[in-house]
Amino acid sequence: MILIDSVARKFFFKLICFFMFFLMCVVVSGCSDSKENAADILKVGLMDEPKTLNIWLASDKWSGRVLSLMYQRLYIRDPDTLQLVPWLAEKDPVYDESKISYTVKLRQAKWSDGSEFTSEDVAFTGRLIKEFKVPRYRARWKFVKRIETPDKRTVIFYLEKPMAVFTTRTLTSPIVQKKEWVQIVEKARNSEKPLITLQNHKIEKPVGTGPFVLKEWRKGAFLFVRKNKHFFGTGQKICGRMLGPNIDGIIFKFFGTSDAAVLALKKGTMDMFWWGIQAGYLEDLEKEPGIRLYSNERSALYYWGFNLRKLPFSDVNLRWAIAILIDKDFIITRIVQGHAIRMDSVIPSGNKFWLCTDVPRYGEGLTRAERVKKAYGILKKAGYSWKVPPVNEAGELVKGKGIRLPSGEPMEKFTILTPPADYDPLRAMSGMIIQEWLKEIGIPVSAKPMSIGALLQKVKSQHDFDAFILGYGRLDIDPDWMRSFFHSSQDKKRGGNKAGYHNPDFDRIADESAAAMDKEKRRNLILEMQRIILRDVPYIPLYTPDLIEAVREDKFTGWVETLEGVGNLWSFCELKPK
């Protein structure tokens, strides 16, 4: 009995030792493995999780950011000059004036599954967008009449009419693989709602030509992309930049708040936070060793918009008065804490080639009292009257009351819609402050922050609003979007012309600019469009916020700065572990 007991005990002891040894081996091998990889894996923080990996559905910025590393374009912007440079294309497009066609030669490239990237893929993408009228890209392709593929590496685009935006807008659309999408397209085509079927198709592993490919997406936890071994740019010099990727992959982690992300950055568990850092964190982060802050201009427009479809906003005098009363410098220095650039035109100041500088600068350099007096003068001259005018007979300022329209009717109280404080506290605060400024002159107004979805619904779809404060981020360098914002044909439900602005002169010049193939001529037309807009002020441009990004430079170097910050394809292709 004792013998059996001791044998059994020895056996169990050996068994336990074996398991312990086995376990140690697994742990050690796992650790060494993960250590090797972890050193070369960039950890990037996102504020939110991507909504989808279906490129035709992705409209949120988080999906867009992840997908931009997989699906590539024919041409992209040089980070220094912001000029278009060939990416999936081999060289600049060749324009044939007689045939109104563009010929594009493609680069030798492969999809992430190893198959060859051909002109068929480009043609397929274009046809797909046109056939399904994919909302995000439809306008870019609607003037493309026909696409031909004479050989594997040549695509010819035939246009209905000369379009200047073809190269800047159409040729910068993402290209998808025909092999991956052909069956999905077939299925969608035969369904009742083709576009919805196409957009609702769940893409598990996107096949792209970009520097990274999806490895794993654990919902709610992280998304991991690894280096694409078939990436066409690896070891090549494009724009004078030697491309990698030199890192093994990128792990995207999702932080609901900036606080958590900033703490992770300080702790070193994250290498980059792909989102603007608020002013309050800057001082603290600047002192942190290993962290570097990059401040770059954004291609963005934050603005006040009127509903010109109704009184009193259809009166340009009231719009001028409000433009004078809004103290942009106060908003920039106080609310945005100096991390923004004053906008006097609708084109961001970083876009120097297209920016018009000789536009009216409403209220620039005026004190509060001077603003009130000037606005009062404009309105009085236009026939507005007050029960208690904001400037009394002695020329002193008093609180204006009982404002009446030139028709004699009292001005009804109106609402400024702003995004809510949880979405953008700065715009919500701007609305509150502007409300107080307008009240000084007796304009009855109240700011109403509301959820961004409901706000856009009211402004874009229902046209049920008085005034609003909104912003456009990541505006294209080519300011063709001005046409969509202010052309009278866009004054429709879900159209780009939210203000309901109608001006035949503007429409004519805008149409002419879209067709102008001569760059200098087009520039002059765009400048003229800005002058008209700033004279009629359907929008009051407020500011372009700076983009301040924080990265850890003790692990990776090689961030590429450009308009819209260091979070760009060039950075991810050039970054190197230290």
């Binding site: 900036s258 002013a279 309050g280 603290d284 809510p420 404080a421 506290p425 959820s451 979805g453």
Partner: protein, 318 residues
């Protein structure tokens, strides 16, 4: 005419005597209650804190009169354009725009009282009325009202207000007060109903019925005075929850943007990224929210002891 005058004089004298007779036991009762209250340490601390907050609320009107830069929402210091620590000009410092934090804190006290007391009062009025009617009428009316109370009781108030805010845009402070009141009455109504069920078995109710008093008269004339102390006790607890809900809403960015409340101040600290670097801005509203809710809770506990002799006995024996 003369007779009439004499008659009316006699009548008014009689009323006066009745009033003074009525008043003296009330005053005596109040004095007795106050004597018990004074012995309660929690009650004394709670009341002291409340007086301080009430003074803060009253003082909130003073800073803007001294200088427009002390306007809690729109006033900014012309020389300061960022968050700075306490100074002689700004005793608690300034926020990210250069607004005075002390002025905001004082204005926040006013809002807290306004929200807390009005939401609690409304919920008590609704809860007491429904509780009395349900308890007195019984049967179908009781079942109907209590099931309604159950349904509302399980609804998360904060979530409902958040959804409403998302749907209709940010809500006005009075709408928030109303919503809080509409969602916080079921607890009170349950307690009042239980009390009414016990009261309606008492002989004085039977006597009133025999004397031909209507249901409404019995409920509001005979039952209500007996349940009111309990209702007011619950009001102190409701004030606490109303203040917390408003602060949470404002902190999450769904408060009334035109109102400077303590929750709103916390939201500004958070959203502008000053959470870890501006304790002079973060702590005061946080501490005030904690202390005001604590003070109402302490007040409620002390009043509980005044109203419930059993608790007094326990305390005395303990």
């Amino acid at each position: 005419m003369g007779r009439f005058e004499i008659g009316s004089y006699e009548m008014s004298m009689e009323k006066l005597n009745k009033k003074s007779l009525n008043r003296s036991p009330r005053i005596a009762r109040f004095r007795a209650g106050w004597a018990i209250y004074r012995q309660n340490l929690l009650g004394k601390i709670g009341l002291t804190l409340l007086v301080i907050f009430a003074l803060m609320a009253l003082c909130s009107f003073i800073p803007p009169l001294i200088d427009p830069m002390y306007q809690p929402m729109t006033g900014v210091d012309p020389d300061i354009a960022k968050s700075t620590g306490p100074s002689l000009r700004h005793w608690l410092g300034t926020d990210f725009m250069g607004r005075d934090i002390l002025s905001q804190l004082l204005a926040g006290a006013r809002v807290a009282f306004m929200v807390g007391v009005s939401a609690a009062f409304m919920s008590i009025v609704i809860g007491t009325t429904i509780g009395m009617i349900a308890g007195y009428m019984g049967k179908f009316v009781d079942t109907l009202l209590m099931r309604l109370a159950d349904m509302i009781m399980v609804m998360p108030t904060l979530l409902v207000v958040l959804i409403l805010s998302a749907l209709f845009g940010q809500l006005n402070i009075w709408i928030i007060v109303l919503i809080i009141a509409l969602f916080r009455w079921p607890g009170v109504s349950r307690v009042i109903r239980a009390q009414t069920l016990s009261l309606k078995q008492r002989p004085f109710i039977e006597a009133a019925k025999v004397a031909g008093a209507s249901h409404m008269r019995i409920i509001f004339r005979h039952i209500m005075p007996n349940v009111l102390p309990l209702a007011f006790l619950y009001m102190t607890f409701r004030v606490t929850s109303a203040i917390i809900i408003e602060a949470a809403l404002a902190f999450l960015g769904f408060g009334d943007p035109s109102t400077v409340s303590w929750g709103m101040m916390l939201q500004w600290v958070w959203k502008t990224g000053h959470m870890f670097k501006a304790p002079y801005w973060l702590l005061p509203p946080g501490i005030c929210i904690s202390l005001i809710t604590l003070s109402f809770y302490m007040l409620g506990r002390a009043m509980d002891e005044v109203l419930d002799p059993r608790l007094r006995k326990e305390a005395e024996t303990g």
